[in-house]
């Protein structure tokens, strides 16, 4: 019984969530730069454009969505076919950019004018759903304890991000220092080679003129 109000709130909450339009066979990707060992939860809902009514249907019957998650070195973490509405999870093994792609499995070869999908999307990084827990709380004490757990998760996520930020900044500093030293090194090398070429040119021309009895 507690699942029913939760399921309905899931439906209602997504219908007022952030959304965008895509063509039927188009793939839409989102980049998430996250630290390691982080749980990412995504919830989506698809609506199909009804050509006759010139409006979006409440859902997209018979249409599935491919959800693919790849890391920055092309390792596939998740690749699954969901229905028109669904929820997906993945945990990152290594820090970095993860690319979440959504594509519908529409088999229509030609998407005639006006055929598009509306996708509602919600992506949560590092924290579990507080609403579901609150809905199941029997009394105030439970509610307080759920909220405290959530606060702890929030703090842990912020600390994780901070550590990851430190790594990235070190990377950044390394690149800056490399660029700085490379500029100097290239200038030195070019000066030396320039001088060497100058000496070589003068020597070879002098020998040439002497050989040709012009000097």
């Amino acid at each position: 019984m507690p699942m029913l109000p939760f399921a309905l709130s899931f439906y209602f909450s997504l219908s007022t969530a952030f959304y965008f339009h895509v063509g039927e066979r188009e793939e839409k990707c989102i980049i998430e730069d996250i630290p390691s060992d982080t749980l990412v939860t995504g919830t989506f809902k698809t609506q199909q454009w009804d050509f006759r009514r010139q409006d979006f249907l409440e859902s997209a019957p018979g249409l599935g969505m491919f959800v693919t998650v790849t890391t920055y070195n092309d390792e596939v973490l998740l690749s699954k076919l969901h229905g028109p509405q669904g929820r997906f999870y993945f945990t990152s093994h290594s820090p970095g950019e993860h690319i979440i792609c959504l594509e519908s499995n529409s088999t229509r070869l030609v998407s005639f004018g006006g055929s598009k999908l509306r996708i509602h999307l919600e992506i949560r990084v590092g924290q579990h759903d507080l609403d579901a827990a609150i809905a199941q709380a029997k009394d105030k004490v439970n509610e307080v304890s759920f909220k405290l757990e959530h606060l702890i998760e929030q703090i842990e996520q912020i600390v994780k991000e901070q550590n990851y930020q430190r790594d990235r900044e070190e990377n950044f500093r390394m690149i800056s220092e490399d660029t700085n030293s490379n500029v100097l090194w290239w200038a030195f090398a070019q000066t030396l080679i320039f001088i060497a070429i100058g000496i070589f040119q003068m020597k070879s021309l002098k020998n040439f003129f002497i050989a040709k009895k012009l000097v």
Binding site: P5, L8, S9, F12, S13, T16, A17, F18, Y19, F20, H21, K28, C29, I30, I31, E32, D33, E122, I123, R124, V125, G126, Q127, L130, D131, I134, A135, K140, V141, E143, V144, K147, L148, H150, L151, Q154, I155, Q157, I158, E161, Q162, Q165, R168, N171, F172, I175, T179, N182, V183, W186, A189, Q190, I193, F200, Q201, S204, L205, F208, K212, L214
Partner: protein, 229 residues
């Protein structure tokens, strides 16, 4: 409490920040956040929509993280289609609007660029989404607050709510700093590649030019010798 769940509560959680509107909590500070990073190919335009209730506040902040020129066109329209903000070739921007009821549309336009794709980061901050709910919560507080334990728990809940709001703000600032750093790092990486590439080209050109010089001088004298004989 059951009643509030059945209402269409706009509960948005994105990127580590929390839904502000929780049924049964008194005097909560509703503040919702969401952020996205995506790649916009050259010559394309991408639009996003956000449903908003009346008298809430919508703040949009965007930044171009990567792509030659680091600029993009931005367009924000109200639910009736009226243009609220139109910016051209900017690399970042912040806009806050007091909302009416309906779907707000904002678009990023990369049609002016023919070859370079842009990586765009944007953040939506929604405030006061549950203003209408708050009077009801106060009324409920009077009914349930007669028990001493309940009142103490309400105090604890309120502290927790304020801590949560502040943590959300910290997370939000962290996301922003991350975006700034990502952009600076991208610029620096392209600097590094540029320095290496053009220095190498410079060196090769110098060597080739000097070899050609020597060769041409020598060839001038060769011809003269031949014409003499």
């Amino acid at each position: 409490m059951g009643d509030n769940i059945w209402r269409p509560c706009p509960v948005l959680l994105l990127a580590g920040l929390l839904p502000a509107l929780l049924p049964g909590t008194a005097s909560f500070t509703p503040s919702l956040d969401s952020d996205f990073t995506f790649t916009l190919p050259a010559g394309q335009k991408e639009c996003f929509y956000q449903p908003m209730p009346l008298k809430a506040s919508l703040e949009i902040e965007y930044q171009v993280l990567d792509g030659a020129g680091l600029d993009i066109d931005f367009h924000l329209a109200s639910p009736e289609g009226r243009t609220l903000v139109f910016e051209q070739r900017k690399s970042d921007g912040v806009h806050t609007v007091e909302t009416e009821d309906g779907d707000y549309m904002f678009c990023f336009d990369n049609t002016f660029s023919t070859i370079s794709e842009k990586v765009i980061f944007f953040e939506l901050i929604l405030d006061n989404m549950g203003e209408q709910e708050q009077e009801q919560e106060d009324w409920k507080k009077y009914i349930t607050g007669t028990d001493m334990l309940d009142m103490k728990l309400e105090d604890i809940l309120e502290s927790i709510n304020s801590i949560k709001a502040r943590l959300s703000k910290s997370g939000h600032i962290q996301t922003l700093l991350r975006a700034f750093e990502a952009r600076d790092r991208n610029i620096q990486e392209s600097n590094f590649d540029r320095v290496n590439f053009w220095s190498m080209v410079n060196l090769v050109v110098m060597v080739v030019v000097s070899a050609i010089q020597v060769y041409m001088l020598k060839s001038l004298f060769e011809d003269k010798r031949k014409s003499r004989t």
